[in-house]
Symmetry: D3
Subunit: 339 residues, 6 copies
């Protein structure tokens, strides 16, 4: 199935292993970015996964294009031009030392693009699904307009739309986010994000009676109900991370389709190899699940298992096959050697 | 003491660290193979450890010979010739992601050897022990014949014989295994393998009353008794692995000499650095233990400690000294720095 | 503030990751040494941290000087000359396999120095603190004399003196240690070391009634009281390590100022990336804490948090900022990504 | 333009730098193979470059597919299945020490394919050019049949066909080669190969009077004339390598279109970074040149410059752009930094 | 002697060895920049070498500071703040393939600095020499103003000023360069640059009669005479590079002090390990030479030898000692092992 | 044939590639040493090559033992004990920058050995050849005694003795060398070394009439005649190196058997990968040649070709086969790929 994602792909520059920035004498080059990560996962699951972005014509831009092609992403809608590939520096923590990210993404080609360079009617033609995240419109006014144009075209072409709210305080204020994101919610069918994201991106205020018990399943159920009432989503979905340390996390997720509420199995991941891209692996798993599974519960279990596996893989991309995810969904978590 | 092992040595090709195959841009070259791993351990413990195999004359064959020589294995009985060194690709899992092995060992020199190239009377002359595993006869009909010739020569020269049953479904069917392995059991003094291996390799069927409780010590005791009755082994030995994840395992072992049943201390290994070769480290530790310790219990504790240490060492070979194993047997498991 | 440390800086030569010595084909070069590690931490916290030592003029000596300069240590008092840079080989254990250290530090430039090459009146001029450890006088008779000259100059210049007893049985006997160290205690204000170090370095014998309960806080309290009575320290401080394995340790510390006894928060570190230098990170954190915090308790919490973080960083040096330590003191131990 | 290539893609396993096989502890993974190398070059020049082959479904097969996708090759016609990816081990020489190649390509998926798995009418539909080399039919009888079916389909679809004779004595005898290759020459428009290849692959015998002067341009002219007369080629083309050492080569080429003979500029390449794939880079440059340039001379100059550049690039693939080749054709060979 | 340099320090990100950008999976981190390179050389020669710049407070900025400290540069005048460390990507060519540089330095902290953050009266106090290059004022209007303020302060403090014209067409037009650079020439005592740089940066037009023979020594003599006449320099100096390939260059230099013209020895460098920073190594050698040698000829020979050695060292910094340069000046170029 | 060598094996610690010491963050571990290098070559040529030395029991000593075993050297006569493995640091030059060696070999186990630990009657029993160099007796008085004992035993057992004079000014003075070496010459059959070595090690003074023309073949002829007259050697042999740069050398050799003088082919090596061990490769080639070839000329050509190849191989050991040397002797120096 043709699935469209829109966003930025950056180069992550990281010291080897658990090294600190100031110890590094080389950086691993790890291409990634929220929607690009989703695109790679979807290509892994066999879809025609089209990533829409803008990248410079020079070889550094080509590195990003090649990384996507390598894993089967359709790059035909990537516009070439502009000066910079966005970067971020990341070091990987351990135990009580957190991982650390330093962004150097301002002035990237996609942030300074002219939205007219993209023909969204051509892009959305024949597509089944369009996914974006709150990071993209946060990049710049041009990127916000770009996102709106993409949503409108998706709407015209009857494409299902999912949005990972993903509020990033380094990129914009909550006020700005609300002014940009709120009007776009009319196009969104599947909303991925917890109540805090909804508050910061959408100005959502949970009812008083919900506030009290929001950390249990019942609390989430009521919050999700209210979000659907307010924004008209078809699904509200959220992951729940329990951070014990940089090395060990608990991980599960919740979904509500307006009628039924479902809570997934919980995974304890120890050790975490790389948690960057965990949420994106979840979004991709969810999209694949909702497109191919019978129930929202099966879709959610696929998404949670896929993203749990992501934590065991270095880099932003979730390089697992559908079979590997299904095997974990079925309970094969004992790590015995596959010969 | 002169100890003979017979089998294949392959090159394991592995991505760095926990990398996936599709992320790799180079492979670590890790020589190994069931009996070769046993041979290296025995050389480490000070024996004249003779590994018998066939390897091509070219430099890739030489890589395997050199790896054995480096760790003190006597390679004088390795026949040189043939076209291929067997390979296997392996990636190392983490948490709930299992390690994965892809074999490329068909047509290896040892599998296509002419058994007449080996002079087993010379090889077994002066030897104390001969060890082989179920992998070797599974390689090909020639290799099965080779194994039989080796067993017969060992018998002629009054050499103690141990066999690690090690059923591998990728190499042969249970039917084929039974037809090849069963006739060889008359030569085997020490049988290493659990009841499942015995079933698949030897057609062993535990009595009905044993079936029920087979997972506790008592159950194993009765199964081992029945195996000795049926095949005339001097010892039956088995390891027990509890797989919690690719990173954390429990590990212990059991031995029965026809009279007494002994269950070893249990180790919890976390993190596992590399579990490939853990069983071979156990076999080598057991052989060394039975040759040098007063009781089967002491032999088994040496074997279990040796193989627990193997899990903390990268590569197939268990590069530990006798002193290091003894130190762990004595309870020094707290990991304090040895200065 | 100007802080002086005196000691040896060596090159640690280590296989990659958890590799064993005999597997290595290259060694990481990791400059370090007790007091040098303290010096780097203090430079990280913004002090004028002067490390006093002797290093050959050749490029291998320069490697050590450059490592100190890189992290902001003032190297102006390092005398250049002599033939050798001290070395130590170290491999990093995992699970029940301990890390292992092989020293090759005899005949290093500092051990064979002429104490007259150092002008301690110039060095101590304007200094606030002088730190040394029991390793330095253990290196050689010259180094012992050097330490005494430094202590005397510190005393003349009214510089606070801390000493990490740090008994090393590979370097000297307890008898020799006591004869050298005891006369130096008159200059020491802050004694870092447990009762075992005190016994071996100072000939300290805890009262009979203390012996019984020495492993609980109350026991330590009474031992510390006795040490202060006997040696006249202003503070006695000790860390407590619980070694579960080479990968997982518990870690906390105790301080007594003659009046109040304080026991720090306990950290469980899993996985340990590199525990070498953990004690030095503690000493540096304590010095910084005592110089800048209001209470001994705050100083100790800073020191324990700093050294817990050290365990998550490769190499001897504790490459953390004051802010990062403070963040952990405040309880941010969940390892969430810092964006 | 749609261009089809047919052949094997292998993994080259190589020690780092100039290391010898027996020194290696890891192998660089370098995907490559005659026609695959041509396909990558053509994708670099902007064509729809379709590589036709068979590769196992497992991850090692996927490594090869991903390498092609990374550089823009269309992999839709690659059949998945079979057991092995062909391998070759290669070490890189220096000065008077030659590079060395050890093949391990027998039983590769493409060599054991069923030609019916490929739909050449679909593959050749809309194609402008089809390129193959003498290596492909040499792999096995199935591969020879596969090549014939491809040639016939190309003929049916009026696709221009080029063939690089590329005789490999390790793969077949001259007799076998002649019996397979000769009947295929009727489909070939552009023959790449020198008179020695023509002799071994096609049974070509130059006239007596040509023999004498064959090493100068005039000699080649007459040989090429005779080859065209005998086999009906549209073009005969050959490269000329002068091997001074493993590090320094001279490099030029010759072309004859039945009327005019053209000899290219000569390049001296020093140092050679990697000469594997130099001939394939030439073939790709020639195809691109003949498709887009006005004269055979311009096409040949593009081909020679492209392949000269290949010698300065590690790996089989010629990762240069059309602009970079054109710049060298124009004479920019002084190596000044491009800022 | 206190020597001040002003400019940008960037991180060069480079593939290993001769790898191309699109092949890279990691980048070497190589700190460097015209004036920073000069500063490191001068610290190597024993001067108090103060580098003035602005760098972000975060760890990526710290990497640059630490690199300078490691090699002994005084970093006390580096202002911390701003968002970006300038970057440039560089791949290293070979033979006829040129090295390639892609800049990503816009919006670096130094380019967006507020010149008031720098106290040049304090900086120039006690300094003997101030060096800058045409790159610094080209970065931005703020950086141009910064350069002017520095020159004026140097003038007030009677500091000798050298300028490497270094025209970079990617940073500014010749018109802009002339308008900024010309007024600054009144402060410059030593002008480093050829007649082309003088044309583009200063609007210099050689007399018609000079034009003709400008490529021989006589031609340069007359051009230098004219430059001194026009701009009042004390010395005009220029290097001459003969680019045979990316691997082999000829290298010499010329100096004119208004009276005498001197042409240096010529070096042929083969292979070049890294030519980036060659010109900066020359500038540093010249400054050191003019400060410490008796004649301009000796100074020039030191500078040329120093920069020839730079070509044999990876990275921007010329990590050679004064002794090593002197040894080459004396003619020890045969590369015999120094034991 | 059983061949005995006596000497030290050290670990060479080297930065990667052409990196300088102060740039290194890891060292390659390269075991080597004059006689050890000879031993490895002889094992490569199929001899029972016994290396006699002393090495510590710890793992660093084991690294050296394993390196020898890996390449087939018989290590049974290596005594284990003592504290240190000798080290040397080496960086590899390029162009006009020389390679640089810093020794850290004092106090190595072999230098501090007790000669009584070695049973030379057992060692020389059955041996054909004994080789040593002037480095071994230079290590210490014990090592000098050890060398004498070995020579005497060789004499008793009628073993041919070769000596590479190899004067090292860092290890001893010429006076000391002459006093130790001269009395040992009575045992030497084959003397390897030029007239300068003979002067410094043996106090040799060429006749006045020889001095004049000593640099041409005729001059060498007369010097060699005089050396044989004076010391009673059977052969005098010397290599001749022309050092153009660290990257390019000329290389040939001369031999005189008392009757005939022979001058070998000359090789130009460019680039040199690693010249350390070149002389040892020559000695080994000469020993093998004299033992297996018909004439001294053939022996010398084998030795020169072997050592030319050594320059193209990283590390001290000459990892070439007899076939590879023979191929170069026959003139195959064009570096064409061996498939």
């Amino acid at each position: 199935m043709k699935i469209v994602t829109l966003g930025e792909i950056m180069l992550r520059l990281s010291p080897e292993g658990n090294g600190r920035f100031v110890q590094a004498d080389c950086f691993r080059i790890i291409p990634g970015g929220g929607e690009a990560n989703v695109a790679v996962s979807l290509a892994n699951y066999g879809h025609q996964s089209c990533f829409v972005s803008k990248l410079p014509e020079h070889e550094i831009g080509q590195i990003a294009v090649n990384a996507l092609r390598r894993y089967g992403v359709d790059t035909q809608y990537i516009v070439r031009g502009g000066a910079r590939v966005g970067l971020y520096y990341a070091e990987t923590g351990a135990s009580m030392r957190p991982s650390k990210v330093i962004y150097d993404r301002a002035h990237a080609a996609i942030a300074e693009c002219d939205p007219q360079e993209f023909d969204f009617d051509e892009i959305m033609d024949g597509a089944q699904w369009f996914h974006w995240s709150g990071i993209t419109p946060a990049l710049s006014n041009q990127a916000a307009l770009l996102t709106r144009l993409a949503c409108e075209a998706a709407h015209r072409h009857h494409v299902t739309v999912s949005c990972d709210l993903n509020y990033r305080k380094k990129l914009w204020t909550s006020e700005k986010a609300i002014s940009v994101m709120s009007p776009l919610m009319q196009y969104v069918d599947v909303c991925i994000g917890n109540e805090e994201d909804a508050q910061l991106c959408l100005g959502f205020r949970p009812d008083a009676d919900v506030e009290g018990g929001k950390t249990d399943a019942d609390g989430y159920h009521r919050i999700f109900e209210q979000m659907i009432r307010q924004f008209g989503f078809q699904y509200v979905v959220s992951t729940l991370r329990e951070s014990y340390s940089a090395t060990c996390n608990g991980w599960k997720a919740l979904i509500f389709n307006g009628k039924e509420f479902y809570e997934s199995k919980r995974y304890e991941i120890n050790p975490i190899i790389d948690r960057v891209g965990g949420g994106d692996a979840f979004s991709a798993g969810l999209i694949h699940g909702l497109l191919t599974k019978k129930t929202q519960g099966e879709a959610l279990e696929f998404a949670v298992a896929a993203s749990a596996l992501k934590h065991t893989i270095g880099g932003d991309f979730n390089l697992v096959s559908e079979d590997e995810v299904e095997s974990l969904v079925k309970g094969n978590a004992n790590g015995r050697v596959q010969r």
